[in-house]
């Protein structure tokens, strides 16, 4: 059965890619570079991470050359709209607010959000337990929206340009709590040497009202065709094992 699906998809895909190959022989993709393990910059300046590998795999499936353009999170949507690149693969959650400006492919992964606290601080996740505490989030993310709407009146919110900066300030003791994607925080911070003084606390959040339906690939609204191409390519790499291989490189379980 599985083989049959793969085959059908591949046939379907070959068909579409023939049509589209002329249109998209080169795709410029905006990535972030400060969000380990999804995307980070190596010592030699090269990009690495789950998002990066997925981007390369998708381009390969589509049959287009991939040009990765690092861009700060703050300007990642404006730069897409300004045509600095054609798509964003940067763990961007599919939300209603963003859909007003860009079009999304289907999700390529979906993981819940979680709080982390300093070990031994004993902070409890509730309005009363967090009163007066400082929470660090990345600016203009689903986590920023959630904390602002749900806890905005009881906590101090510190908004950072990148997730890495939030980690740095967490280590430095400038913030009491972090709110971020659970996997990103686990692999990019808690499990690393830097995050050894911190731990998860509270439930995993995935309310679609704030957290959307997973991370998708954003394109300009007048280029929805490209989003469809990506959706299809996601299905293909899910089916042919490429996704599984990339997934296994970074995580112990399937993040899809």
């Amino acid at each position: 059965m599985k083989k049959l699906i793969t085959l059908t998809l591949l046939v379907l895909f070959t068909f579409t890619s023939n049509v589209s190959a002329n249109e998209w022989d080169k795709i410029r993709i905006g990535v972030e570079g400060a969000y380990p393990p999804f995307s980070s910059i190596e010592k030699d300046g090269t990009l690495k991470g789950f998002d990066i590998d997925i981007a390369r795999a998708l381009c390969e499936e589509i049959g287009a050359e991939c040009v990765l353009v690092p861009q700060d999170w703050d300007g990642i949507i404006p730069a897409l709209l300004a045509r600095k690149y054609d798509a964003i693969i940067a763990s961007m959650s599919i939300t209603e607010e963003r859909k007003k400006k860009v079009a999304f492919s289907e999700k390529y992964y979906n993981t819940p959000a979680k709080f982390a606290r300093k070990k031994g601080s004993g902070i409890i996740i509730s309005k009363a337990g967090m009163k007066g505490k400082t929470v660090g989030v990345q600016r203009a993310t689903i986590h920023d929206n959630f904390i602002t709407a749900e806890f905005g009146d009881s906590v101090n919110i510190k908004r950072y340009g990148t997730q890495d900066e939030a980690y740095l300030d967490a280590i430095a003791g400038r913030i009491d709590l972090l709110l971020a994607d659970s996997i990103a925080m686990d692999e990019g911070f808690l499990k690393t040497d830097k995050g050894k003084g911190w731990e998860f606390v509270g439930p995993g959040y995935s309310d679609p009202k704030y957290f959307g339906v997973g991370a998708g690939i954003a394109v300009r609204k007048n280029e929805r065709e490209l989003a469809k191409l990506f959706s299809l390519a996601i299905k293909v790499i899910r089916a042919n094992g490429v996704y599984h291989r990339i997934n296994g490189k970074y995580f112990a379980f399937d993040v899809y």
């Binding site: 400060a34 910059i41 010592k43 030699d44 300046g45 690092p70 861009q71 700060d72 300007g75 404006p78 730069a79 709209l81 300004a82 045509r83 600095k84 890495d164 900066e165 980690y167 740095l168 280590i171 040497d193 830097k194």
Partner: protein, 228 residues
């Protein structure tokens, strides 16, 4: 403390980029400064007013804000113009945006420096040149320009020092200069102080070398000037 964990080459790469941005924007600033200074001293009202608006605007808005405006806004405007004329997409990369903005900002400061330099050229020299039968262009190239260079050199050197430090701002729009790379390295090794200190030292090297070069130029261009 000065264990750089193998990140030093990355910082040096960033330094090369920093120097590239600085030199290229200096070139733009010199060209804009000359145009600006000549406009300010020209007889045409339009040229004078536009040069005045240019210098006033630039001095009124912080370089960081100007840079973001040009990086994002400039791209959108360029796209609009491009669509109108049916051009292909032209990219304003962080490198271009950074270099253009810094060049544009310091063009305004150079305008004032060069204007002062031209005004300091004594009238007698120009009259003498005219008396020799030189035309206006020749007077400018052979008399006004070399003298202006001498008079503007201190101001020019000052502008260059400020300019070379302003290049640090390109890291904010995502260009991988040495400040940006120090941030990456500092984050990865948890030694931000070490890496920013290294970058500070490298900036001191740049300013030190420039200072040396400027002193040499000052001596070179002041040949024949008697000093008290």
């Amino acid at each position: 403390m000065f264990d750089l964990h193998g990140y030093f080459p990355m910082i040096l790469q960033g330094m090369i980029l920093t120097i590239e941005v600085a030199l290229l924007s200096l070139l733009i600033a010199i060209i804009l400064g000359l145009i600006g200074a000549l406009s300010k001293l020209s007889k045409s009202q339009i040229a004078r007013s536009s040069a005045n608006i240019y210098t006033t605007l630039i001095r009124g808005i912080p370089d960081l804000v100007l840079m973001t405006i040009i990086y994002y806004g400039g791209q959108i405007q360029l796209n609009n113009i491009g669509d109108f004329f049916g051009w292909d997409y032209i990219d304003i990369s962080p490198f271009i945006a950074g270099t253009l903005t810094i060049g544009f900002i310091f063009g305004a400061y150079m305008t004032e420096t060069f204007r002062g330099g031209i005004l300091a050229v004594s009238k007698g020299e120009i009259e003498a040149a005219h008396a020799f039968g030189m035309n206006r262009w020749k007077v400018f190239v052979h008399i006004t320009m070399p003298l202006m260079v001498r008079h503007s050199l201190p101001g020019f050197g000052n502008n260059w020092m400020v300019l070379s430090k302003s290049t640090a701002l390109v890291s904010v729009i995502g260009l991988h200069d040495m400040v940006y790379n120090a941030g990456v390295a500092g984050g990865a090794t948890r030694q931000p102080f070490t890496f920013y200190l290294v970058v500070a030292m490298l900036f001191l090297v740049i300013t030190g070398v420039s200072d040396f070069g400027l002193r040499w130029a000052n001596r070179r261009f002041s040949v024949g000037v008697r000093r008290a």
